[in-house]
């Protein structure tokens, strides 16, 4: 039997006291107090709980803790320390792409996942990239413009 479940969280090795079947979402929020990861639907529909696992976008509500042993998990708190985040943050601000803000941590990580795979996406690729992230305020257009702008201004970063 192992003593806890270890993984890399925002660049640091951590050991969780959670059970292997616990949702990563709950562990991030309740054990590590990383409340930037939002809990929306708990069924993979809304994307508010999006994180990066080994560089790939994942809904943390759909991830059992036991499936990420030794994986690298990046939440919005970790990502916010990067240059790429700053470019996205500025672009989101420029277009007022944030209203209530609940979807934004997930939306920003979906933006990162998209741009890291496809640094110069066209509009339909952007819409596809954020298609798992629901936003009830903005109507998406401002977010799409923000991502387009970030991909131009952040040329070379992705």
């Amino acid at each position: 039997m192992s003593n806890g479940i270890s993984f890399i969280l925002n660049g640091e090795k951590v050991v969780s006291k959670g059970k292997s079947g616990d949702r990563l979402l709950d562990i991030l929020r309740d054990e590590f107090n990383l409340t930037g990861t939002k809990c929306g639907c708990k069924e993979g529909e809304c994307g508010a709980c999006s994180v990066l696992i080994d560089g790939k976008l994942a809904n943390s509500c759909m991830v059992a803790l036991g499936s990420i042993v030794d994986s690298e998990v990046v939440t919005i708190e970790g990502y916010s320390r990067t240059k790429r985040f700053q470019v996205l943050s500025d672009a989101y601000a420029e277009f007022s792409a944030v209203q209530c803000g609940f979807c934004i941590p997930g939306m920003v990580l979906a933006s990162e996942a998209l741009l890291s795979k496809n640094p110069h996406p066209n509009e339909s690729e952007i819409r596809e990239g954020i298609s798992g992230n629901l936003c009830r305020c903005t109507g998406y257009n401002a977010i799409v413009h923000a991502i387009q702008t970030a991909s131009e201004k952040g040329a070379g970063l992705w």
Binding site: S2, I5, G44, G47, M62, G66, V69, A113, G132
Partner: protein, 274 residues
């Protein structure tokens, strides 16, 4: 192998099969169906097992590891176009990064969009246990909604997909929205001819009944026929399908499902010159 509080992480397939034979465990592939319930049950974590994540061409067959995620299949040049088209309409990127074709098959939903493609293409499933293996057609794998013949000591290892006839396909998924859409009806048809005669007119229907539907006895009506002969038979062929497809009511009515199935079947025939 790593043993967790209530779960196992095997390092090899052999270890996984050994654990499966000695313990009551739930195989965890992508987790996207299991975690909706998030029960504290003993999981056998297969999501990092490289042996289940291979895709390769083997003669006239494509071998797809049960642990291949949708994203990895979209990224692979080997994945047939028809399968990619179905996968592109499954959920959204984050779910496709986790969800696997093996999980989609074993979850045994009649709405399983990737399983539909394996149905129409005569794919077979390779099931392994510590004692040995068996290969069976995907149609024989299902017993009913959510029920399969997978034994408690078995794992689905790979899908064996015949390449023949995959190129000329007709696929339509009818959902209520563009992303994260659950199929209301999904239809796929393959069509092939040799020496002026029809050699393949396979169609499969998802989200219609308790399992995916396919009617080999009705396909036989058109097999061996010329296009001209098939045109003569078209009305009676459609009438037979109209009798055979008995949809159940779900989020949409049975009548609606029936109408959509028949419209799509008719369009599939028309597109193929019948």
């Amino acid at each position: 192998m790593v043993i967790l509080d209530n779960g196992y992480i095997p390092s090899t397939l052999d270890e996984a099969l050994q654990i499966r034979s000695e313990n009551k465990v739930i195989p965890y592939a992508g987790g996207t169906d299991l975690m909706i319930k998030a029960e504290n049950v003993p999981y056998l974590f297969l999501n990092k097992l490289a042996e289940l994540q291979q895709i390769s061409v083997d003669g006239d067959m494509i071998r797809i590891g049960a642990g291949c995620t949708y994203t990895s299949l979209l990224d692979s040049p080997i994945t047939p176009k028809v399968l990619k088209e179905a996968i592109r309409l499954i959920a959204a990127p984050a779910i496709r990064n986790l969800g696997t074709v093996g999980g989609n098959i074993c979850n045994a939903s009649p709405k399983a969009d990737s399983a539909l493609i394996f149905y129409v293409s005569d794919s077979k499933l390779r099931l392994c246990s510590a004692k040995g293996e068996r290969i069976l057609p995907i149609e024989d794998f299902y017993v009913g909604r959510g029920k399969t013949v997978l034994q408690p000591d078995e794992l689905l290892i790979e899908i064996l997909m015949p390449k023949k006839y995959l190129d000329n396909y007709y696929y339509q998924k009818v959902g209520a929205r563009q992303a994260l859409a659950i199929s209301r009806v999904a239809f796929v048809g393959l069509f092939g001819m040799e020496d002026g005669k029809i050699t393949c007119c396979s169609t499969a229907y998802g989200s219609v009944s308790d399992t995916i539907l396919r009617f080999r006895n009705l396909e036989a009506i058109l097999l061996g026929k010329t296009i001209a002969e098939a045109k003569e038979l078209k009305d009676s062929f459609l009438a037979e399908y109209d009798k055979a497809i008995v949809p159940i009511r779900g989020r949409v009515s049975a009548d609606y499902r029936k109408r959509v199935c028949m419209n799509l079947l008719e369009d599939y025939l028309t597109q193929n010159g019948i």
